[in-house]
Amino acid sequence: MAESASPQGPAFESPVVRSYPASRAGDLTLSDESAVTKWLVRAGTEGPTADLLDAPFGTSRAAADGALVLGSRPGEWIILGTSAEVAAAVAGLDGLEEQEFCSALDWTHGRAMFRVTGTSAARMLEKVCGLDWSDHMTPDGAVVSASVALVTCDIARNDRDGVRSYLIFCDRSFGQYLFDALIDAGNEFGLSVAAASHSHSAD
């Protein structure tokens, strides 16, 4: 999901504005991925849009064109990726409004997004969220909404190379607060702040 910087327009300002010291010991990393393009699609839980996106509530799917499709709520999907990947993923939606009531909007600026990766990522989330992060309740690919450090978030388990990894989304305005709360929760596991794995075009 990497992409080169956009040629025009001002740079994207992340909600995380503080800087953090370079890596500490430990295999747990936190990165700010807020610049990733995010679209929100709404339609019926069953119908042509649901068929096309093929990620029922609670699940996610890597689309062929590189985007990640999250079944974030019944009849709601979040589509992530570079702007090109997301554009490719939502292109198929054109014309569906003839068949059913559906809508799509660019939510990139509305949501902060962080990634936590590491074997102790679930133990870290246990400190800020009351959900069950075990493999049988929240397996790789699971998508769920819950309060994280008192902020309502969407969370997608999206393992990297077999290592536990979670994408955590919240309202952009909570971004700095939540980033710091995650750092605090990760301290005992030796969390370090990593560079974003994505860049983004300022669109």
């Binding site: 609670g58 709520r73 009351g130 909404s145 819950a146 309060s147 309502t152």
Partner: protein, 90 residues
Amino acid sequence: MLLVPCPNCGPRNSTDLRYGGESHARPDPNTASPSEWRAYLYLRDNPAGWLRENWYCASGCRRWFSIERNTATNEFRDPPLPGDKRGGAA
């Protein structure tokens, strides 16, 4: 803490939901008398026993649903009805 069975998310901590109170139908605003309207606004049966009530899955799927709960034992009677909060008192 009570586990509330959300029809979409499964059992969730009650703090993940907002309690919407007893299910009751909204009267027709054009024909309801003031006393009928105020009964809708303020009067509740509050039984010790089975009660159909509304919940909003605020931290989860953000969907309203109605479900029967025994207020004396905190048992839920499955299945909850997604989207329907009118239901009428059980």
